[in-house]
């Protein structure tokens, strides 16, 4: 069965690029344009991994992560969260890890980098 990924990014272009890469890796891909949309999606679905931007309108990646951590996935495994952002300072990275992110991709990224990070969190 193919793995699923929710791409959360306010940039249509980034979502398109991520979808292209992920589909070539046989992922089923869903998209959300901000944290609130992503949270709505996660209340009804359980993707294997979430690719999460930091800065987004309505609800940022960090705000999403705070609310996401309160979701109950029952007996299912919690989806992995991989930040994918231009916020590349070590302070941001540390904050993301403390908030519960499993991995961190600094933009710009290429297919190999993303694939490597998805392997590290056990979904590729």
């Amino acid at each position: 069965m193919s793995k699923s990924c929710l791409v959360v990014d306010d940039s249509k272009v980034i979502r398109k690029v991520a979808r292209h890469i992920l589909e070539s890796m046989a992922f089923a891909v869903d998209e959300a344009a901000d944290g609130q949309e992503a949270l709505r999606f996660c209340r009804a679905n359980r993707p294997d991994v979430i690719l999460l931007d930091w800065n987004m309108p309505v609800m940022s990646g960090m705000e999403f992560l705070g609310a996401f951590n309160d979701l109950d996935f029952g007996h299912d495994e919690r989806p992995r969260v991989v930040f994918c952002t231009t916020e590349n300072s070590i302070d941001h990275i540390r904050a993301a890890i403390e908030a519960g992110a499993d991995e961190y991709v600094m933009k710009p990224f290429d297919r190999e980098t993303l694939e490597g990070k998805l392997q590290l969190v056990g979904v590729a």
Binding site: N88, S89, I90, I93, R94, I97, A101, E103, Y104, V105, M106, F109, D110, E112, T113, G116, K117, Q119, L120
Partner: protein, 286 residues
């Protein structure tokens, strides 16, 4: 034309022969086209017009720096952190435990990264060992990286990696623990750098600076650049450096089958190799 570029065929031949005589490596036809592109920065740095002029300078000027730069540029320095990370998982969980039992009396562990390039593989191992903490308390643990490329070894010693390099294979937790973010890139902390020694060596000629025979040898994606006689010589060199009970790690696409009788597939750990002459003696259970 041989390289598909603008240089004369004899220039390509001379450059290939320089590479082979200095490193033992040969350029397969599908890599020859890269010569012109790889050497472009060298031409610019030394103010040389083209490959024919470079060959003329190499033959007549007797400049060590130009020769080193030329050879370095033709080498493939591709590497990244925890390459094929399942190999590192197996080493962390099984191989190191086996070696800890085997070497319990001497309390010494020697790891040699042959063809270490810019250092990521050796730093990967050093981080892994450091994180095992108490397991190696009171042990002498040496992690040595060697490579024929001066440029690669000098980069490895500095331990500075670009954003692209630091993201390749390195888990983010380890990145923030072992590296500092600087304006120039991600710099290995002093505590990590001091755990690895790097030196410029030609594995076909030089004896690596090891205090004891190597318990674990990484030689990944290097031997494939050697023609068969040279490859067999390289395997013999690796065997001469390996401890009797030791492991050899090759690249994912490499094998000893049909290549050498010095090493055989490890009966303990899939994907690793052991000295062939030790297979009749197994005094220690893993």
């Amino acid at each position: 034309m041989m390289g598909g570029g603008t240089a004369s065929e004899s220039a390509y031949r001379v450059l290939m022969s320089v590479l082979e005589s200095r490193t033992g490596q040969t350029l397969s036809p599908n890599r020859i086209w890269r010569i012109e592109m790889s050497l472009k920065p060298v031409l610019q740095r030394h103010g040389i017009a083209d490959l024919d002029a470079l060959v003329a300078a190499l033959v007549t000027a007797n400049g060590r720096q130009l020769l080193d730069d030329t050879v370095d540029a033709m080498l493939n320095n591709e590497t990244f952190f925890y390459r094929e990370h399942s190999v590192f998982d197996d080493i962390a969980e099984k191989a190191l435990e086996y070696l800890r039992v085997v070497n319990a009396r001497q309390r010494q562990l020697t790891i040699w990264h042959c063809g270490v390039s810019t250092g990521q593989e050796a730093y990967s191992m050093a981080m892994l060992l450091a994180e095992q903490g108490e397991r190696w308390a009171g042990w002498r643990v040496d992690v040595i990286g060697t490579d024929v490329s001066h440029h690669a070894i000098s980069r490895a010693r500095v331990g500075l990696y670009s954003q692209f390099e630091i993201q390749r294979g390195l888990p983010v937790q380890r990145m923030v623990r072992w590296f500092d973010q600087t304006e120039a890139g991600w710099l290995a902390k002093a505590d990590l750098r001091r755990r690895v020694d790097f030196s410029v060596q030609n594995m076909l000629i030089d004896r690596p600076p090891l205090a004891a025979p190597a318990d674990l040898i990484f030689c990944r994606n290097l031997l494939l650049y050697f023609a068969m006689p040279m490859r067999q010589k390289a395997f013999a060199r690796l065997r001469a450096i390996a401890a009797p009970q030791s492991f050899l790690v090759l690249g994912a696409g490499e094998t000893v089958l049909g290549q050498t009788d010095q090493f055989v597939a490890s009966p303990r750990l899939r994907g690793l190799y052991e000295p062939a002459d030790q297979q009749v003696r197994r005094p220690v259970a893993a």
